[in-house]
């Protein structure tokens, strides 16, 4: 257990996450791109302002979250390396493509 804590690199986990807002409305996300720095924990506050449920999903980030209309929920993402991580709304896949761009 102690070994795990040592190997996990205590500093990154202990920091407060960077906050981002993501709004779902009319089958799309606002903003469609989130820019974030590498190596920092991220917290994305998702708000569903539409009148239909959404499912925030990212296959590359292994995240799935259902939000009823009017619901708010946070998605916490461990520190990432530079790259493009796509997400979408599984219930409205054609119109809701977005990405987190980490640099």
């Amino acid at each position: 257990m102690a070994l795990c804590l040592m190997l996990s690199g205590a500093p990154a986990w202990a920091e407060d996450p960077l906050l981002f807002d993501l709004v779902a409305r009319e089958g799309a996300f606002q903003p469609t791109e989130i820019h974030a720095p590498a190596g920092r924990k991220l917290k994305i506050q998702i708000r569903n302002e539409g009148d239909e449920p959404i499912e925030f999903e990212s296959l590359t980030l292994r995240k799935e979250k259902v939000l009823a209309p009017g619901a708010t929920s946070a998605v916490i993402i461990a520190p990432l390396r530079a790259g493009r991580y796509e997400f979408f709304d599984e219930f409205h896949p054609e119109t809701s493509q977005g990405a987190i761009i980490v640099e």
């Binding site: 239909e52 296959l59 390396r81």
Partner: protein, 278 residues
């Protein structure tokens, strides 16, 4: 657009439940055990009820599931399902010819019968709840032609699911039983592995477990995570950029499964066969 979304969601979410229920059903057709079939049927009904209940909760009681609530629930369900699948497969292998009398016995069958019930209910509830939320939420909010499209898509998805189920049963009857059993074993073990690996990955993603080392390699050039609608991830446990914890979990799972498979080598073929079958 609504048609294909509804179709894909109903069919894709149904595939995992179908594989489990379809394979269990095929095994029980081969070794008829009415009590076990009853537990399977009860599991299906319970699963459907839970799917509706869970869907309603996700929809109404949003505060319960804000932040990590949904993740904890999914993690718990995936781990339990994965472990039950492995237990079921090893049980089948080690009992060989004695499956029928064991399942029909008054005592001693309970753990396995309840295992069948819980696994079936879990498989249906987990995926079903998402379908329920989608159909109720998106369906009820749409009007006119897009509502018709959703309904048609959902029906088509159900039909495809039924066809998949029927094909599975057909396969169990037409190919040699040994081959079918081996293949269905392999599919179930792959699925269980994917479930357990996904559970571990989720735990890492919500800080319950450390990643140890992020993104050990990147094979997204070879095969992306979202290829084939997420099939490699959901049914095989593939990751293009795995962290070390997930990698260790993968190795530990397969090492354990291979040991279990060795220990429970099936009995030689003096299996009771229904009259009239090959």
């Amino acid at each position: 657009m609504m048609f294909s979304t509804a179709l894909i969601i109903v069919w894709r979410e149904g595939v995992e439940a179908l594989l489990i229920v379809g394979i269990l059903y095929a095994w029980l057709r081969r070794y008829p055990a009415p009590r076990a079939t009853a537990y399977l049927g009860a599991g299906i009904v319970a699963g459907l009820c839970c799917a509706v209940a869970l869907g309603a909760l996700l929809f109404q009681a949003t505060e319960l599931f804000a932040d990590s609530g949904q993740d904890y629930l999914q993690i718990g369900m995936m781990m339990l399902a994965g472990l039950l699948i492995v237990q079921m497969v090893t049980w089948m292998r080690s009992h060989g010819a004695r499956i029928q009398p064991t399942l029909q016995a008054r005592e001693g069958a309970s753990p396995t019968l309840w295992g069948i019930f819980i696994l079936t209910a879990l498989a249906i509830a987990r995926e079903g709840s998402e379908v329920v939320v989608f159909l109720y939420g998106v369906g009820s909010a749409s009007r006119g032609s897009s509502l018709n499209q959703s309904a048609a898509g959902a029906s088509a998805g159900l039909l495809l699911a039924g066809v998949t189920f029927a094909l599975l049963q057909l396969a169990s009857q037409t190919m040699s039983w040994r081959l079918f059993f081996r293949l269905s074993e392999a599919m179930l073990l792959l699925l269980a592995g994917a479930l357990l690996i996904n559970a571990i990955d989720r735990m890492v993603s919500i800080d319950l477990l450390p990643a140890l080392k992020d993104q050990m390699w990147d094979t997204s050039g070879l095969l992306e995570d979202d290829a084939l609608g997420g099939l490699p991830i959901n049914l095989l446990g593939y990751r293009s950029r795995p962290n070390l914890t997930v990698g260790l979990a993968f190795c530990l799972y397969w090492a354990s499964v291979l040991c279990l498979l060795r220990i429970t080598r099936p009995r030689p073929a003096r299996l009771p066969v229904r009259p009239g079958t090959a």
